[in-house]
Symmetry: C2
């Protein structure tokens, strides 16, 4: 067998294209709402939401970076913006002197609260309106395993031929 089949069947193509377009349109609408309602980019919202979800309201930089897929420097940049806006604080981690702990502030939670209703409204209208309860369940059941698979398979270097540190 010559490795993986070099094509997608029509059904796969349909699913793939629909997935791409649905997410693209949804993302676009959400970004607009977040910007208008709370002057937040999507990434900033994700960071705030992640902090807001945490029991302590805090995360290490590395944890945040892992969750958002970005480079460290991109996270530093965004954390800097959020800090300047008073939505988070940064402090040295207690257990590891190298680390930085990011914590959401009251203003951050407030901002999150201000933005959330509109966010949910859009997701509800755009994504879920045409789906029945059973549909939503089915969608989650389909996508959650895919997500787990994606998280597991490529540690972060889904590169076909990359190899680091050849020392």
């Amino acid at each position: 067998m010559p490795d993986p089949p070099p094509s997608l069947d029509p059904v796969q193509l349909g699913a793939y294209f629909a997935l791409i377009e649905v997410t693209s349109l949804l993302r676009h609408a959400v970004e607009q709402q977040l910007r208008e309602a709370g002057d937040l980019s999507y990434v900033q919202f994700q960071l705030l939401a992640r902090l807001g979800d945490a029991p302590t309201g805090s995360h290490r930089m590395t944890d945040l970076a892992d969750g958002v897929v970005y480079s460290r420097s991109a996270l530093t940049y965004q954390a800097g913006l959020l800090e300047k806006a008073g939505l988070v604080t940064r402090a040295q981690a207690e257990d590891d002197e190298r680390g930085t702990t990011v914590t959401i502030t009251d203003a951050g939670r407030e901002r999150l609260a201000r933005v959330f209703p509109g966010h949910i409204e859009i997701v509800q209208q755009l994504l879920f309106e045409p789906l029945s309860g059973a549909d939503v369940k089915a969608l989650a059941a389909l996508l959650e395993p895919v997500r787990d698979h994606m998280r597991a398979i490529p540690p972060r270097s889904a590169a076909p031929r990359r190899r680091r540190h050849a020392s």
Copy 2:
């Protein structure tokens, strides 16, 4: 009823988050592959693919812009890059003196062909590997109506609190 319910149930949240993360990871992997294999951004690939699909290999600028959601100027920028790289040509439309027709070149088709196998391989491995044939069918059946709904509902101005049809 106070308009739309201000929350998502746990199943909806699961579906929403999985959708976002799956697409984000997939997109990231695909972008990397396109860049490495053919020095193309995702947008550029989309444009080329759209032109390659067209019977004539051509599209009007406006048609391309509509499909890629972007602003006109962003499209002009990308078309300029593709033209500079010799992957497309731009010429005045025949029927409408205002219009510009973009056409994919042989080099453009070649580039597309060079990039496609790796693209498909990634989608196959990341998205479809954990899904059965029936799953894929179900996924398409769920997402395609959502896509149609999204295309139809908000003409492009999903304003946060505007209520349309107040007539």
